[in-house]
Symmetry: C2
Amino acid sequence: MKLTEAKAQFISSWGAFGTHWGINRTMAQIHALLLISPDPITQDDIMEQLNISRGNVNMNTRDLVDWGLVDRVLIPGERKEFFTAEKDIWKVATQIIKERKKRELDPMLKLLSQLEKVEGDKKDKETKQFLDTVAGIRKFGGQADKMLDVMIKADESWFLGSLLKFFK
Amino acid sequence: MKLTEAKAQFISSWGAFGTHWGINRTMAQIHALLLISPDPITQDDIMEQLNISRGNVNMNTRDLVDWGLVDRVLIPGERKEFFTAEKDIWKVATQIIKERKKRELDPMLKLLSQLEKVEGDKKDKETKQFLDTVAGIRKFGGQADKMLDVMIKADESWFLGSLLKFFK
DNA sequence: ACATACTTTCAATATTTTCTGAAATTATAA
DNA sequence: TTATAATTTCAGAAAATATTGAAAGTATGT
């Protein structure tokens, strides 16, 4: 397989992959392109490589920057702004975990706590099942939350090393 | 908060939550409804509670069954078929992990292995970055894969207990 | 200040995804 | 077998999402 073909394949698959994770196709493709670009590239480069409009590139790069996955870089002597992605996959993963935790898990746990305050007789079958379900999810979510916090703070080698030993 | 209101809130939030995970809103809502229903319910019950069409219920319950999250139940003396969801959240989580691993992670790892075979000079900057990125993701994915396998096989109490001790 | 290069915004449009509902199919009972 | 009940399918409609492109906004150099 030629490099050009392999690149196209990687970008396309990474894009499809992203859609399963609530990330839009284009944003994932831009991320993929940046992951395999050794040097920072411009809006125009991205437009050209992925055949998408300027507006689209602009919006999605902004989102990637918001997610902390991509940085704007200023190159001395250049007017245009350049983009580059964090290449260390462990850092990419912890960054994504951190953001999703903040955006999704934390609010969900907060809501569940609210729902546990529902008024009603615990002898009633409907009420009981509701409370049991909510409590179960909250407990599980709470554990996941703690575990992810440790992961985020951990260092890759420590984490993988210890975890592998632990799981042997 | 009244039970009716709390239920509606839970179903609606679970639905929104699902969309961030590549699951469609209705499928997640049906799942939520089943999670808080103490007894099995029918297509018609779901149609009525969520205000959606028969076809929609049919398609999404089928998917939930395919995902192994919902079971069809036959109740003696009843013509209609009933649905019920696994209530143990640990089991729900492992089932989801199992399916997503099969549907997404495994194929991705397979593709990455292919891409590592790309022909080209490793001295070339473009080629090198491509190979490094692909190898990095593959390595990380491989570790995640192993870890998830252990989780899937593990028993909840063992898992949470040990993990908590480990992470203390 | 002016001209030029570059970036951002957003209304209109296109695409993708989801949902409906009625027809076709299958199952059950008499 | 026939009537009735229940389920499934799927083409078309509706809704949700993503994309374009041109105009407005900013920054930079002279």
